[in-house]
Amino acid sequence: MKMLSLSGFREIEHTADWAIEAWAPDLEGLICQAAAGMYALMGVEVSPEPMVTHSVALSAEDQESLLVAFLTELLYLAETRAVACEVVELHCSDTALSASLVARPLDRIRRQVKAVTYHNLAIKTTPEGVRVIVVFDA
């Protein structure tokens, strides 16, 4: 498939649940695009204020597990703190991720994403960078 820009995301049809495809030049960018795609699926709307900074440090088996762990962290913050986060800075290796986030209050969520799945999850290298399909439990 020809991508229109170097990084982005799009929704993919799934019979019972939700799925997105995300792509970016590198892993850090891919994780940010997957987060943006998940928020877009949820139809998140935020208030500009008050902003709260939040930092995340995660470790996992591999890159795919890091992606699941990071998105799961964002879902947890949405459900328990009622915030959506923008990534200010994100670094990751194959097994560790650290990120600085700005959290803003959620005004509205149009639909609930319950969880991030490992279903056929594989980060693939392409001539343009990396891409992944993430399936969510709806």
Binding site: A16, A69, R111, Y118, H119
Partner: protein, 483 residues
């Protein structure tokens, strides 16, 4: 991937994919479908997912899929897999994120005619008493010790607080409490996510309905369950809410390393698993049972609040507003049971992912009044369409690990349903059919439009034709409440 030559026909309602189909399959896949449903199932990846499940270590017999099967993640929804206990594996994906998602049905002797003037008020009262939708908090703010007690005691916790009766517990799968729950293996985050959600329906395909008994096909069984033609019943569909999701997610992540350690090869990482006799397997079983008990308690509290709504609206206006519990079933669960496999009795963990337990007459664990008829099976249809009450059979015990279908089964993605259906028009159409609708979100309503699902009547005809359930009563909705 599948040509018609792959399928071995057993009967008009039963097919098999032999284990020679793919080198990594350990067992066959048994499919309970008509030819038309089987052809339709090729439109998504559900059969491929069923074949993937057939590669799990320790399977005792064929993977079984139901006529309402559709594509899930890892396991297909509508799948049943039995692994030998204790050396076989337990796979969280075979149970699902919403652990012990299930259905509860309560009967009444309220005739539709006497309740008709009050149905809109009843819809409003049910909507007010039973919180639904995203982020809606429940009526209880529990401290940690109480949350742990809910995990251990299940529905009995609510009954001890005056929210229900012993009869409710007797008419609940596992009497509303799975043994072996241990909240020590439930993460802090899972406890936190469940804290405010006890007594809530949630969103998505979860709902509460008042139906009228439209048709009875087995008088004896219906009478035993308190179902009478023309009378109202209440049913609702929900599970363990954020708690089950957090437990599932946590274990799917933590078991990724266990799979490598045990040298298990998987075609899909979502099928992650661990032997039941391993530390990881034991911990997941204890956590899963904790979430299952949370869900039983959740449905017990919802039933209590629904009864309050019935009393508020109908007391003094109908001859008897009381609701009596018919049964409560789990359709996302892992249970240790003994089944006949290839002529031998084997203790197995039956993974039911979108499938309902359907124990036949005389099965252990059924209350005395259901011993002669078999276990009630509750099969909700898509919104605005019929639902069914069935019973388990001797055949379901022999051929599907005491399991049958769980609902209509999706055929259209949520995105497509939203593109093709307008929520306001759908609501107006349902209202014109005499169905009183309360929906938190019109787009959420559109996602659950009837055309997004298979025909539940066709699904039920299939399990009845195959003999893995027997029809008792058909229900028609008059009130729908959705988050």
């Amino acid at each position: 991937m599948f040509s018609h030559k792959v399928f071995r026909k057993i009967s008009d309602f039963e097919w098999e994919i032999p284990k020679t189909f793919r080198p990594d399959m350990r067992v066959a896949v048994r499919i309970f479908m008509t030819e038309a449903l089987l052809r339709a199932s090729l439109d998504d990846l559900s059969l491929e997912q069923a074949v993937n499940v057939a590669t799990l270590p320790g399977l005792a017999g064929p993977v079984v899929v139901m006529p309402d099967m559709h594509q899930g993640y890892g396991f297909p929804i509508g799948g049943v897999a039995a692994t030998e206990f204790p050396q076989g594996v337990i796979s969280p994906g075979g149970i699902g994120y919403d652990i012990n998602c299930g259905v509860r049905l309560l009967s009444s002797s309220i005739h539709l005619e006497e309740a008709s003037p009050y149905l809109d008020d009843l819809a409003a009262a049910l909507n007010a008493h039973c919180p639904s939708g995203m982020g809606k908090a429940g009526p209880l703010a529990l401290k940690r010790a109480e949350l742990e007690a809910v995990c251990r005691q299940g529905a009995e916790w609510a009954v001890r607080k005056g929210m229900g009766s012993i009869e409710d517990l007797r008419h609940t799968e596992e009497n509303g409490c799975m043994d072996g729950a241990d909240p020590r293996w439930v993460s802090e985050r899972a406890l936190e996510r469940g804290a405010g959600q006890l007594g809530t329906l949630g969103s998505g395909n979860h709902f509460m309905e008042v139906d009228v008994v439209d048709e009875i096909l087995d008088e004896t069984a219906a009478q035993r369950m308190g179902l009478a033609t023309g009378c109202l019943v209440l049913q609702f569909h929900c599970g363990s809410r954020g708690r089950g999701q957090e437990i599932f997610g946590g274990y799917v992540q933590s078991l990724q390393s266990a799979v490598r350690r045990f040298g298990i090869q998987l075609p899909d990482r979502e099928l992650v698993c661990a032997p039941m006799d391993s530390q990881e397997g034991q911990q997941y079983l204890a956590a899963m049972r904790s979430a299952a008990n949370f869900a039983f308690c959740n449905r017990q509290i919802l039933a209590h609040m629904a009864r309050q709504a019935f009393e508020q609206v109908l007391a003094g206006k109908v001859h008897n507003w009381q609701l009596r519990q018919v049964y409560d079933i789990a359709h996302n669960i892992g249970k240790i049971e003994t089944h006949l496999v290839d002529g031998r009795r084997v203790k197995v963990c039956v993974h039911r992912k979108g499938a309902t337990r359907a124990f036949g007459p005389g099965a252990a664990g059924l209350p005395e009044e259901y011993q002669g008829i078999g276990q009630p099976v509750l099969v909700p249809g898509s919104m605005g369409t019929a639902s069914w009450v069935l019973v388990g059979t001797a055949q379901s015990m022999e051929r599907s690990y005491g399991s049958t279908c769980h609902g209509a089964g999706r055929v259209m993605s949520r995105s497509k349903a939203k593109r093709e259906v307008r929520g306001d028009r759908l609501r107006d159409g349902l209202e014109q059919q005499g169905i009183h609708v309360r929906a938190g979100s019109l787009s959420g309503l559109a996602e659950e439009a009837p055309q997004a699902y298979k025909d539940v009547d066709e699904v039920v005809e299939t399990v009845a034709g195959a003999g893995i359930a027997r029809k008792v009563a058909r229900l028609r909705p008059v009130i729908v409440v959705k988050g």
